[in-house]
C-alpha cells in the first residue's frame, strides 16, 4: 500500500525540455519513476532522456495516459500549465515552481478542488513513495523504504531530517512536501489522514515551521483522529517576530502561529517535538 502514488503511477513532466525539467527527469528515471512523457509547447516530437515530448497535456494524455504530473514551469505560466493538467484529467499534480502569484494559486486550487485533483505545492520538493516512485526534486539516495511517513512544510529541512533518519537506518513510506507558499494544495491534515489509513506507515513525522496555524490545526486532528504516533520538528524558534523570512507562510501574524503556540498545541495532542533535526532518529526508534 502507499498514498497518492505508487510504482505503477504514470508520470508526465511539464516543462521537460528546460534545465530543471530535463535534469530532474533523469533523476526521477534513475529513482525508478515511470515517466511516460513530457510536455513542452512547440517541441512535440523531441525526446528527453528517452522520454517522448508532446505539445500539449491533452496530446500526452491521449498517447501515453499519465495519471500524475510534475510542473517545471516558470511562475508566470504555471497557472496555465496547471489548469491544463487538471482539465486534461491529471489526478495528482506536483508544482515545483516558486513565486507563483497568490491570485494564480487561488485559481489553481479552486479549479483543482472542483475536479478532485490532488495538488502538491506549489514551491514544494514534491512527493516520493520511497523506493518506487519519486515525483519531485529531492536527492534520490535519502529516500529508502521504511515504516515512517513524513510530511513537511519546508524542503531542504525535510531532506536534513530524512537524511538523519536514513543515516540511522530508518526509511520512509511516503514523504510529502506541502510547499512553502501561502496557498498550497495538500495540508498537514490531508496527509495525516492518508498516513493513518496506510498500513505500511507506523510512525508519522511532521516538519513544520512558524507562521500560520496549520500545525495547530493538525494538532487538533491528531488528538481527535490519529491512532499512530506522531513526532514533529518545528523551524523558527529563534526567528524575530514579524520579519519576513522568505516563506510568506513564515510571517508571524498577530501573535498566532508562534513557535510556542505550535509546540504547546502539538504537545497537548501527544506529539513530541524535537529540539534539533538530529534528534529525530532517537525519537523514532522506540516507536517502531
Amino acid at each position: 500500500m502507499s498514498i497518492y502514488i505508487n510504482e505503477d503511477t504514470r508520470v508526465l513532466v511539464q516543462g521537460i525540455t528546460g534545465n530543471q525539467g530535463s535534469f530532474h527527469t533523469a533523476q526521477m528515471l534513475e529513482y525508478g519513476t515511470k515517466i511516460v512523457g513530457g510536455v513542452s509547447p512547440g517541441k512535440a516530437g523531441q525526446q528527453v532522456e528517452g522520454v517522448p515530448v508532446f505539445g500539449t497535456v491533452f496530446e500526452a494524455v491521449e498517447k501515453v495516459q499519465p495519471q500524475a504530473s510534475i510542473l517545471f514551469i516558470p511562475a508566470p505560466f504555471a497557472k496555465d500549465a496547471a489548469m491544463e493538467a487538471i482539465d486534461a484529467g491529471i489526478k495528482v499534480m506536483v508544482m515545483i515552481p516558486e513565486h507563483i502569484p497568490l491570485h494564480d494559486a487561488i485559481s489553481i486550487m479552486s479549479y483543482a478542488s472542483l475536479n478532485d485533483v490532488v495538488v502538491v505545492g506549489p514551491n514544494t520538493f514534491g512527493l516520493v513513495s520511497s523506493g518506487s516512485c519519486k515525483i519531485g526534486i529531492m536527492p534520490n539516495r535519502y529516500f529508502i523504504p521504511g515504516p515512517v511517513g513524513v510530511v513537511s512544510r519546508s524542503g531542504t529541512l525535510c531532506y536534513e531530517i530524512v537524511g538523519n533518519m536514513t543515516a540511522s537506518g530508518i526509511g520512509t513510506t511516503t514523504v510529502v512536501g506541502l510547499g512553502g507558499d501561502r496557498v498550497v494544495g495538500l495540508n498537514f491534515i490531508d496527509v495525516l489522514k492518508e498516513f493513518e489509513k496506510d498500513d505500511d506507515t507506523e510512525v508519522v513525522v511532521m516538519v513544520g515551521e512558524i507562521g500560520g496555524s496549520a500545525e495547530e490545526e493538525a494538532a487538533r486532528f491528531i488528538s481527535d483522529e490519529m491512532s499512530k504516533p506522531v513526532l514533529a520538528y518545528l523551524a523558527g524558534k529563534s526567528a524575530p517576530p514579524g520579519k519576513r523570512m522568505g516563506h510568506a507562510g513564515a510571517i508571524i501574524e498577530r501573535g498566532r502561529g508562534t513557535y510556542e503556540s505550535k509546540v504547546e498545541a502539538l504537545n497537548a495532542a501527544g506529539v513530541k517535538v524535537a529540539e534539533l533535526p538530529s534528534e529525530m532518529p532517537d525519537l523514532i526508534k522506540p516507536l517502531l
Binding site: 516558486e98 479552486s110 524542503g155 523551524a235
Partner: protein, 369 residues
Amino acid sequence: MKLYEYMGKELFAEYGIPTPRGKVASSAAEAAAAAEELGEVVIKSQVLSGKRGKSGGIAFATGSEEAEKEAGRILELEVQGMKVEKLLVEEKLAIEQELYLAITVDNGARCPVILASLDGGMDVEEVPEERMIRWPLDISTGLQPYMIREICRLMGVSGEMSKQMLKLLPKLYRLFRELDAELVEINPLASTPDGLVAADAKVTIDDDALYRHPGLPRISEKTALELKAEELNLAYVELGGDIAVMANGAGITMATLDMVQNFGGTPANFLDFGGGAGVEKTSQALELLLGTNPKAILINIFGGITRCDVVADAFVKVKEQGFIDVPVSFRLVGTNETEGRAILERIGISAYETMSDAVKHAVELAREA
C-alpha cells in the same frame, strides 16, 4: 508590498471608492497650504506601521498655522523606527459611525475572504467574532450583489448604507483582484452625512505578482543590504549577531539559526539563497554575507535542486578573489556532493557531513575570533 495610505487612496479614487479630499505634503509649509484650502484637517504621517495614532503620528488642526505646527512636529517623528517623510493632509470628516471592511486571502480555505463589521476603528481586532462577518468567496463565481445584501444583513446594515455597500464593495473587490492584492483594508470606513468614505487605506500587493503591474510604485521597508538582496532575488534579513549564515531553503535556514542559538552562538542574518542557484547568484549571496562584518561564516548546503559542485565552485571563486577573510564552517551534502567536496578540498577546506558539526564549529570559530 505594502503601499502608503496616500497611494492606497489614490488607487481607491481610481476605482471610484469615496475618499476624503486631501493633499500629500512633504513639508510643514505644504501642509499649511493644504489646510488653508481644506479648512479643518487631519494630518497623518505616511509610514507603513499600523500604530501611527498611538505614536503621535496623527494630529488634527484648524487653520494653516496650527497645521504647520503639527506637521512640523510629525515630520520630526520616527514611527516604529521609520522616519516620516510624507504627510497626508485631509479634510476632517463628520464621522457618524466607524465601520470595518477588508478583503484578504484565507490561506487555509485557499480563497479570498471579505471581513466586515459595524465596529470599525482602533480596536477592531477585539471585535467579538459574531460581529465580525467573514464571507469566503469562490473566485470563479466572484462577488455578486446578493452576497453584499447578505453581508449587510449579517452586519446589521440596511437602507441607504446597504445601497452604498452595494456600490462600494464590488469596486474594492475589483481592485483586490485586478491589482493582485494580498490585502485591501478600510479601517475605519466612515459613515458620514455624505455617505460611506474610506477614512484610511491599507493595500498590500503580492510581491510575486508585481511584474504584472509595472504602473504601481515600488516601496520597500528594507535596509540597504536587504534591498541589495532583494535585487538579487535572495531572501535576506539582518539579525545583528556575529555568525553570518547562508543555507538553501527557508526552513533549513531557520533551523540553522535555531541550532546556532541552541549551541550558544548569535546569527548575523537570515540568508536563504533558494533552490537551484547558479554560480553567479551563489557568489552574490556570499558577498552579501560579508556585508555585516561577521566573525565567522556558516554555510549549510543540503543539495536537492541545488548542486553542491556549483556552490563549492562559487565559493572558491569568491575566496580566490580575496573577499573572504573570516573563517568558514562548511557543510555540504546532497546532489553532486562528491564533486563539491573535491572542489573545496583543493583550497584546503574539508566540509562537514552533518549540520550539527558544522554549526558547532561555526560557534567555536566566532568565539575564538
